[in-house]
């Protein structure tokens, strides 16, 4: 199968969060929102809620609070994921309510191990139709959907697991800095961020600040402007997650979320109060 190779139109546009989300996220899209326990673009997810996007296929290794909010407000039709919980606290109640009771609407699941979903992104970033890994065999995850198959090693004959490339319509990330040309710098735990960006048709990155010149830091990962579509400056945009060098994780907020999210009405009035009438990063 020949895939069309096309270059992106231009360098990243630096715009407001609202404009960036409006330009890159459409109803029915497959939307990866990444950041592995760090650099979670919470504010961007909340802007998607404000804009009332529907029918999304949400992708994330570790769905946590922001996905709970997006699921509870009915943005999502399907979830592709590896581990959906409130880290260090317990369940995601909106996720559970959707899966267990179909509220506010049923949620289709495509469930993977972290290693498996990771390699779906890796295959896509590498322009390959699939990736090979040692995984899934003997688990109930095998055979549950059509995104895990097997492949025989042409050298040893050994049977391995295969997962198909995952190409989101849009990947949303948070980073520490962008320069005025739209080149993006992130550091600390960067997870699957590079692969998720390179796998997607469109890339939106929220950043703590737009600077004249990116910092020179150990462990820095740079995404050049020409693989990014939109950059929005959203200081504190990861709250209650954190951004190394800029903010700390609000562990208490994760605990508060457990109480807020348990009850549908409490959840809805929290969303009304904290998300629907906000315009940028929400602290609570």
């Amino acid at each position: 199968m020949c895939v069309e190779l096309t270059s992106r139109g231009a360098v990243a546009e630096i715009q407001s969060l609202a404009d960036a989300v409006a330009a890159t996220v459409h109803d029915g899209d497959c939307v990866a929102i990444e950041g592995f326990t760090h650099l979670i673009p919470v504010a961007a997810g909340q802007e998607i809620i404000r804009q009332g996007r529907k029918d999304l296929t949400l992708v994330r290794l570790t769905p946590d609070i922001v996905f709970d909010q997006m699921i509870g407000t009915g943005c999502a039709r399907k979830l592709i994921f590896g581990w959906g919980g409130n880290p260090g606290v317990g369940s995601l109640h909106r996720f559970r309510d959707a899966v267990e009771n179909g509220w506010p609407s049923p949620l289709e699941l495509e469930e993977h191990s972290h290693a498996g979903l990771t390699n779906r992104f890796v295959a896509a970033a590498a322009g390959l139709p699939f990736a090979v890994l040692r995984g899934y065999f003997g688990t109930g995850l095998m055979g549950r959907h059509d995104s895990v198959k097997t492949v025989a090693c042409p050298f040893t004959g050994e049977t391995l697991a295969a997962v198909p490339a995952l190409h989101p319509d849009v990947t949303i990330l948070h980073a520490q800095q962008a320069d005025r040309s739209g080149n993006v710098l992130m550091w600390g735990i960067t997870g699957i961020n590079k692969e998720a960006a390179l796998a997607a048709s469109r890339v939106l990155v929220t950043v703590e600040e737009v600077v004249d010149r990116l910092a020179a830091v150990p462990g820095g990962v740079v995404l050049p402007s020409w693989v990014i579509d939109s950059v929005a400056e959203v200081p504190g945009g990861t709250y209650p997650s954190y951004t190394a060098g800029y903010s700390e994780r609000d562990n208490d907020a994760y605990v508060r979320w457990d109480a807020i999210s348990r009850d549908r009405d409490t959840f809805r009035s929290w969303i009304d109060q904290h998300v629907m009438h906000a315009t940028a990063a929400v602290h609570w």
Partner: protein, 265 residues
């Protein structure tokens, strides 16, 4: 939960509960090990207790990509900034899974679960039917590949008829599958769960049948209690041992470690 105290002492420093015993037993299992894949919660506490006591050079690897993390306080998530700041190196998630875990470089992995069966297979996905679950649990995360590729796995799980089950509602993670030879047939390269540490005692797989066998009881626990907590006919080692209670050094280190937990717990 009842509190116990180490022999002949009544100082509060020597009082411990069953979770303490579980963590201390797990930390002892890491003595002599070099590289450990750690999750948050009891495993992280145990691994850091080992670093603080008898295994100061233990290399901790967290799924978030932190290799050689040396946290001075207990992390609250596997992506805690403290882990990144103290690590020898922070690598990407693909690299952690593909090069470090799947590459066979990790000696010991720690796992927990909501349910475990007699062959140490684990469920962390659903209670009830997958498509209409009673309880939707978080899911697999890194567990299946940790169990597949670490040279050994240590399972930490509280022992009760709710967690020890005849039949898993979902098999998230393979221990010994359906029994002898199954790991090899499935292409799983590590040895699997060599040790299960519960709040009641320690179980090890029988070298022939792979079935978990009670090999030690923790202080204050009688065999009947372990049997009652196990819905199947619990195999018991002929030389059933008694776990040494936490020493004063261990308990002091554990208390100090728990006191570093920032924010809420």
């Amino acid at each position: 939960m009842t509190s116990l105290s180490t022999t002949g002492s009544d100082t509060s420093a020597r009082t411990f509960d069953r979770d303490d015993m579980m963590i201390v037993a797990a930390s002892r299992a890491l003595v002599g090990r070099r590289v450990c894949f750690v999750g948050i919660g009891l495993p992280s506490t145990a691994a850091n207790l080992a670093r603080a006591t008898y295994a100061p050079d233990l290399v901790l690897i967290y799924e978030s990509g932190t290799v050689g993390a040396k946290p001075s306080r207990l992390p609250l998530s596997i992506g805690d900034g403290e882990l990144a700041a103290t690590a020898d190196t922070v690598v990407s998630v693909p690299e952690i899974f593909n090069y470090w875990l799947q590459g066979g470089r990790i000696e010991v992995g720690f796992l927990g679960a909501a349910q475990m069966d007699r062959f140490a297979n684990l469920n962390s996905t659903v209670i009830g039917d997958y498509d209409h679950p009673t309880v939707r649990l978080p899911g697999a995360g890194g567990a299946p590949e940790i169990a597949a590729s670490c040279q050994e796995v240590i399972v930490l799980i509280r022992q009760s008829p709710r967690t020890f089950v005849e039949r898993l509602d979902f098999r998230t993670t393979v221990g010994f599958g359906d029994g002898p030879g199954d790991r090899e047939r499935l292409g799983l390269r590590g040895s699997g769960p060599t040790l299960v540490i519960t709040d009641l005692g320690v179980l090890r797989p029988d070298p022939v049948t792979c079935e978990l066998t009670l090999s030690a009881l923790h202080p204050g626990v009688e065999l009947d209690e372990a049997r009652a907590a196990t819905p199947w006919e619990l195999a018991v080692a002929p030389d059933l041992a008694r776990t040494d209670p936490p020493s004063e050094v261990e308990l002091r280190a554990l208390r100090a470690l728990l006191a570093t937990r920032g924010g809420s717990s």
